[in-house]
């Protein structure tokens, strides 16, 4: 019996399909041991060896990692919410009610999504403060700090665009106030300094572009929905990749 199992496993590990997936042999040899390590995707994302100091909890407080985790949690819960939510002003609010009261675990996912969003703003803040206090933005890491500030901005804009989607009073008026300020942008807003002088009108300024109209309505909802669910997360991923790549390339900032 064990002989048969051995023969089956020998056959499986010798097929082209197995070798295509696992780029190393099956036998326990030093070469295969190295290959299992170096052909593992985890060691593409992490260095095989890490500086001892960088693992100390009291140096990083895990805040950057916690931010990434919350981003992943937000992506997963957000995708689940997207199955039930339709960005139509006539039914968006009812969809949220369904998510909270009818959909299995719907309220849990919505609560986690909201908490993770608030948490992410907080962890980004704390991460930035940690990086500042340890002087980790000093040469050669200046550019990664700039990328970090872009990610902070993206986090805030992501939070704000998500705020409108439940289509309740809270959402509507918060976004009304927020976009009203866009109309006050210097040069590009109709109410802003030098806006009118530069030919800005109610129907061509930055507020109009943001709202897709002169007031918060269906066009605004679909704009915020697409920005929140597709555009901004994609942009954030691009900058995240650069951020992590630079952490690896610029090296760990801690004591030598």
């Amino acid at each position: 019996m064990s002989n048969l199992l051995q023969r089956v496993s020998d056959w499986v590990t010798s097929t082209q399909v197995y070798k295509a997936i696992f780029r190393h042999g099956y036998e326990d040899t030093p070469r295969n041991r190295s290959l299992t390590t170096f052909s593992n995707v985890l060691y593409h994302l992490h260095p095989v060896k890490t500086r001892k100091e960088s693992i100390r909890f009291r140096y990083t407080w895990c805040m950057g990692g916690a931010t990434l985790l919350l981003f992943v949690v937000l992506t997963v819960t957000g995708l689940l919410l997207m199955f039930y939510y339709v960005p139509d002003t006539r039914r968006a609010y009812q969809d949220i009610k369904d998510i909270m009261n009818v959909v299995s675990f719907g309220s849990t996912f919505r609560n986690v999504h909201r908490l993770a969003a608030h948490g992410m703003v907080l962890t980004v803040w704390l991460h930035m403060t940690r990086v500042f206090l340890t002087g980790a933005y000093k040469p050669p890491r200046e550019f990664n700090w700039v990328v970090g500030v872009i990610l902070l901005t993206l986090t805030l804009v992501l939070s704000w665009t998500g705020y409108l989607l439940p289509w309740d009073q809270l959402a509507f008026w918060a976004v009304t106030v927020g976009t009203k300020m866009a109309g006050d942008t210097p040069l590009f807003g109709v109410e802003g300094p030098f806006g009118r002088q530069l030919g800005m009108r109610q129907d061509n300024d930055i507020k109009f572009m943001l709202l897709g109209g002169t007031e918060v309505g269906q066009n605004t909802l679909i704009r915020f929905y697409v920005l929140h669910c597709v555009v901004l997360p994609l942009v954030a991923v691009v900058f995240l990749v650069i951020h992590y790549w630079r952490v690896r390339k610029d090296g760990f900032s801690g004591p030598l």
Partner: protein
């Protein structure tokens, strides 16, 4: 490393290669002491796994007790009072009390983002990289703490001390009773004109001058007091740093002017007011 090596083969001058030394060790490492690094697996991955578990568990437990709010459906005929943005934007909303929307809602956030991005290029102090230190970079840490403190204070006020009509409410005040609106706010130019008995035009000019003096003094005086600081930064870095700092410091100054002297605007132009 060197003391552990020993000569096995004498060097042969006829060969272009040779065995240099034998070193005891378990890991391949070049130009590095082996003690410096540890394997990511398991040391780093365990830390990450624990962090992931802790954060996920905290999220799930919190989500049982802190529900996401859902108010009534959108209706244009009812406006909530007070209308509060999420907490991380309440600093900006609080600034709306003291500044016009084009400053509080657009220009200041933009300046905060640009200023943050510029930090590594303005801070020329090479010390204090890679450890928590205050003594090696007193100025940088103080300025950051000032900015963060100001921001946090504005958020705390917005979250816990603002009620109906965005009036100030102490925790023991009744949140359902309106407070009398603040009246009697005057522009600085009008105060100058009435107090000094000069024309409105002169009062206006005087207020422009005062803003100019604030920035001029703030830019010029430190050049003479902190000569070394100025020399190290150079003119471009120095001016950028100081202008950003003076704008940041100007926020509590303007807030104080409003609260103590009931001044609405310190500077009025036909196009914008500050």
């Amino acid at each position: 490393m060197a003391d552990k090596s020993f000569e096995i083969f004498p060097k042969n001058s006829n060969k272009t290669y040779g065995l240099m030394e034998l070193v005891k060790g378990t890991a391949p490492a070049t130009e590095k002491e082996p003690e410096d690094t540890i394997f990511s697996w398991p040391h780093l991955f365990y830390v990450e796994l624990i962090a992931v578990l802790v954060v996920t568990a905290a999220l799930l437990f919190l989500s049982l007790y802190v529900g996401a709010p859902l108010e009534e459906e959108v209706g244009r005929d009812t406006t909530p009072n007070p209308m509060k943005a999420p907490w991380y934007f309440l600093g900006l909303q609080e600034l709306l009390v003291f500044f016009d929307p084009w400053i509080a809602g657009v220009t200041l956030p933009a300046l905060i983002i640009i200023g943050l991005m510029l930090i590594p290029f303005l801070d020329t102090n090479p010390k204090g990289s890679g450890s928590y230190t205050f003594s090696e970079r007193k100025l940088a840490v103080s300025v950051y703490a000032f900015g963060l403190g100001l921001w946090t204070a504005l958020i705390v006020i917005g979250v816990w001390f603002r009620g109906l009509d965005w009036s100030w409410y102490w925790p023991w005040n009744d949140l359902h009773v309106h407070k009398p609106p603040i009246v009697g706010l005057k522009d600085l130019s009008v105060i100058f004109a009435t107090k000094l008995g000069i024309s409105e035009f002169l009062g206006n000019t005087l207020s422009y001058l005062l803003v100019l003096v604030y920035f001029a003094v703030g830019l010029i005086i430190p050049v003479f007091i902190f000569k070394r600081f100025y020399n190290r930064l150079g003119i471009i870095r120095y001016v950028t740093t100081m202008v950003l700092f003076l704008i940041m410091a100007g926020i509590p100054v303007k807030i104080a002017l409003r609260l103590i002297f009931s001044i609405k605007y310190v500077m009025v132009t036909p196009w914008f007011k500050i």
